[in-house]
Amino acid sequence: MLRRAASILAISALVLLVAGMGISAQADVIVIGEIAALTGPTAQQGLQERNGAVLAVEEINAAGGVLGKQIKLITYDFKGQPAEGVSVYRKLVQQDKAVVIVGTNFSNVNLAMAPVAEQLKVPVLSNAMEPAVTTPEPGKVNKYHFLAQPSSIEQGAIVARYALDELKFKTAACLVNKGNSFATSQAEAFRDYFNANGGKVLDYIEVPAGAVDFKAQLTKIKASNPDCIYIPQYAQEAGLQVKQARELGITAVVLGANTLGVPPFVEAAGSNAIVAGTYFINNVHFGDPRLADFMARYEKRYGEPVITTNVFFGYDNVYIIKAAIEKAGVAEPEAIRTALENTKDVKILQGAGTITLDPNTHRPVDMPAWIFKWEADGTTVPMTLMYP
């Protein structure tokens, strides 16, 4: 009986602990909150993003901070789950007194956070590409949500334009993870642009979330024999799709999203030879001489090279926020929001080197992205810089 009572006591103690923990606010630092998936199936993206953000904060603090104050970056895990994202946002804002939030690059999480951010009025700078994150309906903008990369619609359309105009393709097939809004929103944009501008999407095949074997779908695509296949999936799925397409003897050119530009894609595909000839879009050019210095700093700090594009999301977002705080002149959420809205020509690593946000959509204005091609020697060659 006593042990039972002890268990119940322990429970109450735990609940109280939850209630009382984490209340801390220091006046001499500026708290930036970061929401990142540090565990779960998408942990790689979150861990890379945090690496980038931490490096940026360290650099800024070493150079004297912002407005004479040091930046404190607090990162919490949300396992890639939308409801947890909302809890983390509340925790960062209400308990840690963060003045601005960085993250995430998962549209579903930011869609869940959006209504809460409108209530609590602390701005979020995200890389969630789905346009509904910042503009839930035409003409209405979420005041406290910002996107710092080209939207999914722009990216899908750019790839379609490149396939039509530069590669002179007439027919295409899309293979889309139906459970991933990153994939669906880009694929829909690709399909609409491709069909509207003289091409024809022969197959638009949706695969269920979590699938790893795509031969049934690829065999169908092979039968309709398109010029190119568009696969805007995450790195692993895309790699497996390319591998399995080649195993089935499909020779059509493969086009994909920015997730195709990273080592995990090649690892999943198996070898450089398999991915050779694949095109993908990315607004970061890893081999750009402009980034060489950053790449060296990153490698020195973490002992490994940059793996995914998420590093740049984390790093650039911190610098965009730094610029906003300096412009606002005060580290208050509302002032930062106004400054973010009027972000103009802030220097970043992505795109052509600067970012300007549109106050009406909260998305970048004319942020370009490269189309790259994988070569057989395992390098990516930038073909052209495309503007939306």
């Binding site: 199936p41 695969v207 031969k215 049934a216 065999t219 790699g239 690892e267």
Partner: protein
């Protein structure tokens, strides 16, 4: 195209069959789903990757070495979870949850160690594809089918021709009766975990070749469970048939009905099949297990 789809289906099906055979061993003796099998699948993939990468040995050697590791890991899991639960007077029921937690734990640890990265074996193994007429058959699929058959043959030999196999079959029939006959039931269970672990190791390593090595690769264990249930619980043939059926159904549904909702349709078909044939595919009326 139909024949290519059937080849695709068999290649997926033989993979599920291999998964299901290893899974069904523990299932048959304990009557409970052992999710730590998923952990062993993931460890099999990662062990063979690490060995191939850091000891620079050929991939087949790495796979063989990793199989020994997963067998031992599986026996260790038995020792630190099931054994303790049994000693404390519990049947196998709570092992269900312990094994699920072991699975989640190992996955989380692998996420931590690998930083969520996706990797492939440093040297090509069973890569490429060969053609028969206009059928394209990847070497890894053919290899997997072959290895499944070899594993099944070896396992059948062990189960039906050795004293250990006899003891396992007796224990699968009734643990209590086997104990009354003076068998060391703990040793038998541990042996079964070891064998099941080695099979998980083979499967994991081959899955790693086929789909790259990543922390969540152990999720294939769910397919193993489904294949066992569909095949009719309690026998190896059922597990193989169940695996093949699910693979074929999944592929044909994706190809000819709807790809986007194929898991739902596949499982709906399976439920219908079981309504028509409640004893499962293998057709032997067996005792109910959870």
């Amino acid at each position: 195209m139909l024949f290519q789809q059937i080849v695709n289906g068999i290649s997926v099906g033989s993979m599920y069959a291999l998964l299901a055979v290893g899974f069904s061993l523990v299932y048959n003796i304990l009557g409970i789903a052992n999710f730590s099998h998923g952990a062993m699948i993931a460890l099999g993939a990662f062990f063979s990757y690490w060995i191939a990468r850091y000891l620079a040995v050929p991939v087949p050697v790495a796979i063989l070495a990793s199989i020994a590791f997963t067998g031992l890991s599986s026996a260790l899991v038995e020792l630190v979870t099931l054994r303790i639960l049994r000693k404390r007077g519990q049947g196998s029921l709570y092992f269900f949850i312990a094994s699920l937690t072991v699975f989640n734990l190992v996955t989380a640890v692998l996420v931590y160690i690998s930083r969520g990265n996706i990797v492939s074996y440093p040297r090509a193994f069973l890569s490429g594809t060969f053609t028969i007429g206009n059928l394209y058959i990847p070497w890894i699929d053919a290899g997997m089918l072959l290895i499944s058959i070899v594993c099944l043959a070896v396992l059948s030999y062990v189960m039906f021709k050795t004293r250990f196999g006899l003891a396992v079959r007796a224990a699968s029939f009734s643990i209590k009766a086997a104990q009354l006959m003076g068998m060391d039931i703990d040793a038998i269970i541990q042996g079964v975990f070891f064998v099941s672990g080695t099979l998980a190791g083979v499967t994991g390593a081959l899955l790693g070749v086929k789909y790259a090595v990543y922390p969540y690769i152990g999720n294939f264990v769910y397919m193993a469970l489904f294949a066992c249930v569909v095949g009719g619980l309690g026998n190896l043939t059922g597990a193989v048939l169940g695996g093949l059926l699910i693979g074929l159904l999944e592929t044909l549904v994706s190809a000819y009905i709807s790809s986007a909702i194929s898991p739902a349709l596949t499982f709906a078909f399976l439920v219908v099949i079981l309504l028509l044939r409640p004893q499962g595919l293998a057709g032997r009326a067996t005792e109910e297990k959870i």
